[in-house]
């Protein structure tokens, strides 16, 4: 009996066209995605440059699994519906009386559906194999076909997931007899995955999250999270314990669920219903005799078919439709679970490095973004349910013969759908407000909630609703329709991969908007709304087309529907249609005209080509000697209301070389500019595409001679679609790099060697090696100047304060504008910025240095942290390195961006990077990142503004790594050493994780290419560890000598080699290896505790026996592990019971061994260090015994994670 049902089911699906439609869709998507990642569109869009092999096992696993998520949306209609179909067709009343067992029936139904889904999912694999290999893909990105990658993904992840989610959906649909409920279940399951994903970020929960992620992807990343590029390209996913446990766990849960279905399922007529109330008492129903004749005398009522009354009817039908949606438990559950999910997301919103922000309303709105997908899917799903509802209920025969017009039926479904969206959007609002109240935060901006959710966001969803109703009306199979809509909504943004980049050509795409406290929505709304109006009309066009094809009655074929549509297309419909269509095209043309004709628009492909030609045309001038700017004097007028600026400036330049200079290369921006030199010259080349002019001087500028340039610059007028100026209404932040001209060829070349090869460019070395003494003429900040005198006058609106580096000389108001004259008293780098906003000011003093914070009213939360940070950093740096060069230090808030940047005596600091952080008074030592950022940025006044590296590899180590080091040291003084473990672990995790995304190469710290993960995370780890090895005092003394030598130096500039040599000089011979490991090479450890025991001694002390392993290896620039320095000098150890040896570089290393206990401090358990000492390690396997005074609870090798180790968890073990 099993096989009969099984094959009957299978045949049913294999005979249906929809099965093949699904297969075709999956196939096409898989081919598209695979071919795209393999660079098939390189000829029409920007080049896919990467050192990653796209079809390496990990890549295959990622894409295959990613696309397979879509298949979950087929479960309700295939797996879920397999039993439901029998109910629907009322087949069950016959079928259930047949002589087969429940097991036969259920298993046959379930597994036949599973087989169908598994077949469909296989087309993804086939599509990928073909896509990677399509002619036109980049062979460098693709490796030979490897069957095992696909097979592993398929049987290890995809099949178990199909079984698990299939079983859940099967259970839900079987018992509820409601396919929509199946879809809601799928959405909820995707939410669960989002939550486990969140926990992955936290190392402490990573193991658990890996076990409990139902998709198994977290289990994979448990092993592959830190895989380097080399490993990603070469290795298969290890089928190891966490992955196996995870799969077994969820297969178990799948069987359990199926078992429950099996237990509860019975061949009965009625759906299972879950009732919280007791079943009503049964009543015996008898029919009364009703043979009598009744007289029919219907009351007189008025029938009215006017437009107005039809509108009223539309509203009435809308209510019925809306009730249908919201009264189902499936929908209610998505609202409730959605509320919880949004609350969880909100608790993460705005959090940075583990600390949280005050729940500003705009942050709440951002956090609500997690609900977007649910709103979209509900729109797609219920559009289908509403359109097909009367057909599914078989009530269409009654409904369609009533005199209600089609538009009324259609419109009511649309309105009901929009009402549903409003309801779902209000979930975000309710969650946001609940969260704010829970946090004891009462500055609830109700207006902002309403404006953004029910205005800006709602329009977006309404436009989706247009499309959803259209597709569902045309397709008439709600499940296929949902699937098509999902593919569209995911696919439309991906069109940019195929070179379709403009929102004009991508349904419901727009220019975006963003909100911040200082500047509100800025000028983003008119543009956004214009796009939305454009797409609303586009959606309306679709809806009108759909209305033509709206099914009334029972048309027998599509050609008949087409005939009906033709018949319906008559006035006034045709007029409306043409009008809307004309409006759509008119707006579209307006946008096109503005963005493509009035203004030059470059696709990413064109931008790439521009860079190529720029290099080909002008690189030859790179080595051409240019005068150096030595003084800058700028008048800048900021018109904040109109968002314009006008500037005029004067550069004083001098020929510092020993040869004459006959030409000036002037590199400027795309602004309206004029240039005038004070020496006679001729403009020999003017290039308004690259904004690069060449002036030939009449008389050669002799060594030591000076030259002056006067320039004016102002922005082109702003339009609705293009903002041609960086000025905003409140909170302008603009640096000289963006506004003013500079001298010489200034780089900006393509870096990916494969892309360069394609365009016939030589491979790119990124930057010269620091040992190249000819490359030390420029700092990494500027190519046309060393140290300058700086003076500026900046004007702004009367209500605003404008700030630039220097000291305020004079402030005055003229003609309703406020002027500020700033002058710097010492030399600075040619690197300055302007800020302007309506500021509040807080002032303080550190010694004789004036401290000021310019902040947005209402952002008072962390001013104290900032002041403390400034003071602490000033103190640490000036005590340890050199005096502070200015008499004033200012922090200036700007709206958003999540960063701060240090200019001479001025630190612009974004509002969302610390001003609203909820960190003050955090007792449990949560990272006060406002404080940490402040310390870091102030440290730049030394490490960048005093010591600045030459523009060669490793330059950022001198600025960023050192500033990070100072921040850690200052924090350590505040919090104590044991607390540092948290930060070090975080830095270690970030370093190890981010380096896996390296697209070119990873160099050792002192030769780094400037990647953030090296200069910040690795830099901070290395300097912190170094200070631990050689001592903070010794290190700082060496740095002090170094600073003395190089601060404010003229070229040639210093390099990382110089600094490291200073450090080497104070490092004992036994620790020289540390410098080599940390600065000169990429070195990683694999340290772990293997075994530990403690015995109480008679004298009350404890003897702790520790068995641990230490191994060390290097990575090459792709991340390949190297265990030998030269050749054959690696050491090895074979642990008991294993055959594969552990390899290591030779060891003469000093490594911390620590023993800890816990103490009860005021009711809280705190860790206490009983023993911490560096032991000299020469072998991989080590055993030592340590005597401690108290009963130990935990031991560790490198317990504070000072060394770089990819498994930092096994460094400690509890007793």
């Amino acid at each position: 009996m099993f096989s009969t049902i099984f094959f009957h089911e299978l045949k049913f699906w294999l005979k249906r066209p929809v099965t093949y439609i699904y297969m075709a869709i999956f196939f096409v998507i898989a081919v598209f995605m695979a071919a795209t990642t393999a660079g098939i569109f390189d000829s029409i869009t920007a080049t896919t440059g990467s050192s990653r092999i796209v079809n390496a096992p990990l890549g295959v696993n990622g894409l295959f699994n990613g696309l397979a998520i879509l298949i979950f949306f087929l479960f309700p209609s295939i797996i879920g519906a397999s039993i439901n179909r029998d109910f629907k067709s009322e087949m069950h009343s016959i079928l259930y009386s047949y002589p087969f067992t429940k097991a036969n029936y259920l298993f046959a139904k379930f597994f036949s559906a599973i087989v169908v889904v598994s077949l469909i999912v296989m087309t993804i694999g086939v599509g990928m194999v073909i896509g990677y290999r399509l002619p036109g893909t980049n062979a460098d990105l693709v490796m030979p076909f490897d069957f095992q990658s696909y097979l592993n993904t398929y049987w290890l992840f995809i099949l178990p997931n199909i079984l698990l989610f299939g079983a859940i959906v099967f259970a839900v649909v079987t018992f509820s007899r409601n396919i929509a409920a199946g879809f809601i279940t799928v959405i909820l399951l995707l939410f669960v995955q989002r939550i486990t994903d969140n926990f992955l970020y936290d190392q402490d929960y990573r193991y658990l999250a890996s076990l409990f992620d139902p998709f198994g992807s977290s289990a994979v990343s448990y092993y592959t999270r830190y895989w380097t590029v080399y490993e990603q390209n070469e290795l298969h996913i290890p089928i190891k314990e966490v992955i196996i446990y995870n799969r077994l766990l969820w297969l178990g849960i799948a069987s359990l669920i199926f078992g429950i279905v099996f237990k509860l399922f019975s061949f009965s007529q009625n759906a299972m219903s879950f009732s919280f109330f007791r079943k009503k008492k049964g009543e015996r129903a008898t029919k009364r005799n009703f043979g009598g004749i009744v007289k029919i005398d219907l009351p007189k009522v008025t029938y009215d078919y006017s437009f107005i009354q039809n509108l009223k009817a539309t509203w009435k039908i809308t209510q019925v439709e809306f009730k249908y949606i919201v009264k189902s438990w499936a929908f209610i559950s998505i609202v409730l679970v959605g509320l919880i999910i949004v609350l969880v997301a909100l608790s993460e919103a705005g959090s940075q490095v583990g600390a949280s922000s005050y729940p500003r309303t705009w942050l709440m709105l951002q956090g609500g973004g997690i609900f977007v997908i649910a709103i979209n899917i509900c729109t797609f799903l219920y559009a289908g349910m509403l359109v097909n509802r009367s057909k599914i209920a078989n009530i269409n025969g009654l409904e369609d013969v009533t005199p209600i017009p089609n538009w009324s039926l259609f419109a009511s479904k649309f309105i009901a759908l929009v009402l549903m969206q409003v309801l779902l959007l209000s979930v975000i609002m309710v969650a946001g407000i609940l969260f704010q109240l829970y946090q004891g935060y009462f500055d609830i901006e109700l207006g902002l909630y309403i404006k953004e959710l029910f205005g800006l966001k709602l329009i977006n969803y309404v436009i989706w609703a247009f499309l959803a109703l259209t597709v569902q009306t045309l397709i008439r199979n709600p499940y296929l329709g949902l699937f098509v809509l999902l593919v569209l909504s995911i696919g439309i943004p991906l069109l940019s991969l195929a070179g379709i980049e403009q929102p004009l050509f991508r349904y419901n795409d727009d220019s975006g908007f963003s909100y911040n406290d200082m500047n509100g929505y800025g000028d983003s709304l008119p543009r956004y709304l214009f796009y939305k109006l454009y797409w609303s009309l586009g959606g309306l066009v679709l809806m009108l087309i759909a209305a033509l094809f709206w099914v009334r009655g029972l048309p027998s074929s599509f050609s008949e529907r087409f005939e009906i549509a033709k018949a319906r297309f008559k006035t006034p419909f045709a007029i409306t249609f043409v009008a809307v269509l004309a409006g759509f095209f008119l707006l579209g043309y307006t946008i096109y005209h503005e963005t493509n004709i009035q203004n030059d628009r470059y696709s990413s492909k064109e931008q790439e080509e521009l860079r190529v030609n720029w290099e080909k045309k002008y690189k030859k001038y790179e080595a051409y000697a240019q005068p150096r700017i030595i003084a800058v004097d700028v008048d800048l007028d900021l018109f904040t209301e109109a968002q314009n600026f006008e500037a005029s400036g004067r550069y004083t330049m001098i020929n510092k070389t020993e040869q004459g200079i006959d030409s000036i290369f002037l590199n400027y921006n795309d602004y309206d500019s004029t240039f005038k030199f004070n020496k006679e010259n001729s403009l020999v080349s003017e290039d308004t595409l690259y904004n690069f002019n060449i002036y030939q001087l009449k008389q050669t500028l002799q060594p030591g001679d000076s030259l002056r340039l006067e320039f004016t610059v102002k922005n082109k007028p702003n339009t609705l679609f293009l903002n041609n100026s960086p000025v905003i209404k409140n909170g302008t932040f603009v640096s000289n790099m963006e506004l003013f001209p500079n001298l010489g060829y200034n780089g900006g070349e393509l870096t990916d060697d494969k892309t360069r090869e394609k365009y016939g460019l030589a491979p790119n070395q990124l930057k010269p090696h620091p040992s190249d003494s000819t490359a030390l003429g420029n700092t990494y900040i500027s190519k046309d100047s060393d140290w300058i005198d700086f003076e500026t006058t900046v004007s702004t609106s009367e209500g605003q304060i404008a700030i630039a580096p220097g000291y305020l000389q004079k402030e005055w108001v003229k003609e309703g504008r406020r002027y500020f004259h700033y002058k710097m008293d010492s030399k600075i780098l040619n690197f300055y910025a302007y800020n302007s906003a309506e500021y509040e000011v807080k002032k303080d003093k550190w010694k004789d240095v004036d401290l000021e914070i310019y902040y947005h009213k209402g952002h008072e939360y962390n001013l104290k942290s900032m002041m403390d940070g400034m003071k602490a950093s000033l103190a640490y740096n000036s005590e340890n390195f050199s005096p502070y060069q200015h008499k004033q230090l200012r922090i200036v808030e700007f709206p958003s961006g999540g960063f701060a940047q240090s200019f001479p005596n001025t630190i612009p600091f974004s509002g969302d990077a610390g001003f609203i952080a909820d960190v003050e008074d955090s007792e449990d030592g949560d990272l006060n990142y406002t404080y940490a950022i402040t310390v870091h940025e102030v440290a730049h006044q030394w490490w960048a503004h005093q010591v600045i590296g030459a523009d060669v590899l490793g330059a950022t180590m001198l600025s960023e790594s050192l500033s990070e080091y100072v921040a850690l040291k200052v924090l350590e003084k505040e919090l104590g050493k044991p607390q540092m473990r948290k930060f070090l672990k975080r830095a270690l995790d970030d370093y190890l994780f981010q380096r896996t995304f390296e697209s070119k190469r990873e160099k050792p710290l002192m030769y780094n290419d400037g990647q953030g993960y090296i200069r910040y995370q690795k830099g901070s780890l290395v300097f912190y560890a170094l200070s631990d090895y050689i001592g903070e005092k010794v290190l700082n003394a060496a740095l002090k000598t170094y600073v003395e030598k190089v601060k404010f130096q003229e070229p040639p500039y210093t390099t990382s080699i110089d600094m490291v040599n200073h450090i080497k000089a104070v490092t004992p011979d036994s620790l020289q290896y540390v410098i080599k490991d940390m600065f000169e090479t990429i070195t990683l450890y694999d340290n772990s505790i293997k075994n530990v025991s403690s015995t109480a001694l008679d004298n009350g002390q404890y003897k702790v026996d520790i068995e641990f392993e230490v191994s060390k290896y290097r990575n090459d620039e792709k991340g390949k592990q190297l265990f030998s320095e030269t050749s054959r000098d690696s050491i090895s150890y074979v642990p008991e019971g294993r055959t594969k040896p552990i390899l290591s570089l030779p060891l003469q290393d000093y490594i911390d061994v620590g023993v800890f206990t816990t103490h009860n401090v005021d009711g809280k358990m705190e860790e206490k260090q009983l023993y911490l000492k560096k032991h000299k390690i020469t072998a991989i396997h080590n055993t030592i015994s340590i005597i401690v005074d108290e009963k130990p609870t935990e031991v560790g090798v490198d317990p504070y994670n000072k060394l770089i180790d990819r498994n930092s968890v096994d460094n400690r073990q509890q007793l």
Binding site: N289, Y305, A313
Partner: protein, 296 residues
């Protein structure tokens, strides 16, 4: 008002010609559309009820051109399809309110009064708060009548409404229908001859998409006066009789002998007894004459 159908043809995608150049005139009163399963009754009725477009032909009702002006007909149309479902989780009252809105009644009080009345007519008033989806077959059919009454229809089309009803339900249903149909045109399809006999003042027999016969039931029977004969035979003799006579129908007696009814202008033989013609005979004769001649 008169329903006039001229030269109506409808062929389905799968090649079935459901309506074949059909001409029909139907006046006020109950009109029975008799035909076997698959005769095209439902297709015809759906076409009249504006649910389907024919390939060719015209339908007018009074001065309404039905195919051109769907809406005009829908305002005065009551239609009960052969099978229909209802929205789940909606009570009879709520569902009727919904239909009343669709049918153009916009005053709430008027809707309520009307719904109360139609519920009482169809004896559903006490069940008005219950979900219609849980109704028994007969109750559901009555609900169908209730919704049909809401727009006070002039043309009522009911498609095999008595199928599956128990005798009492059927009786009740036909009475209501009769009452409703006094002043309007009711087209009523069935394959049960009995229904037509009890109810209709006009009828047509339909098969293969064509009208085989149109007449009043009485007149149709009168036409056959003295042409229907019966005889009791053994089961084994049936084939011989069928070959020899125009056998319309045969029924078993309790002793396993058969009564056959034969259509013939004169007494076929001495054993035959003249009987009063019945509507069944009309039906069978009509179907028989339409049977294709077997190819030799």
């Amino acid at each position: 008002m008169k329903l006039v159908i001229k030269d109506l043809t409808k062929t389905y995608k799968n090649g079935v010609k459901a309506i074949d150049h059909l001409n029909l005139e139907i006046g006020t009163g109950m009109f029975g559309l008799l035909g076997p399963n698959g005769a095209g009754k439902s297709s015809l009725m759906r076409t009249i009820a504006t649910l389907q477009k024919p390939d060719s032909g015209t339908i007018t009702f009074g001065d309404i051109n039905v195919l051109e002006d769907n809406m005009a007909l829908r305002k005065i149309l009551g239609y009960l399809p052969q099978s229909f479902g209802v929205y789940p989780k909606m009570s009879a009252e709520a569902l009727l309110d919904y239909f009343a809105t669709l049918k153009g009644i916009h005053s709430k009080t008027e809707r309520q009064a009307l719904i109360k009345e139609v519920l009482e007519i169809t004896n559903l008033y006490e069940m008005r708060k219950k979900y219609v989806a849980g109704y028994s077959g007969g109750m559901k059919q009555r609900f169908g009548i209730a919704q049909l009454l809401l727009n006070n229809p002039k043309l009522i089309i009911v498609d095999e409404p008595t199928a599956g009803l128990d005798p009492a339900e059927r009786h009740r249903f036909l009475n209501v229908l009769r009452e409703v149909g006094t002043n309007c045109t009711v087209i009523f399809s069935t394959h049960i001859v009995e229904d037509v006999k009890e109810l209709c003042n006009d009828m047509a027999i339909l098969n293969g998409g064509r009208i085989l016969k149109q007449a009043t039931p009485t007149q149709a029977r009168l036409e056959l006066k003295n042409r229907i004969w019966t005889k009791t035979i053994d089961r084994d003799d049936l084939e011989a009789h069928e070959a020899q006579f125009n056998v319309l129908s045969s029924n078993y007696n309790e002793d396993n002998s058969l009564n056959i009814r034969v259509f013939n202008a004169v007494q076929p033989s001495a054993e035959f007894i003249a009987v009063e013609p019945q509507l069944d005979d009309v039906y069978f004769i009509a179907l028989k004459t339409d049977e294709p001649v077997a190819a030799l």
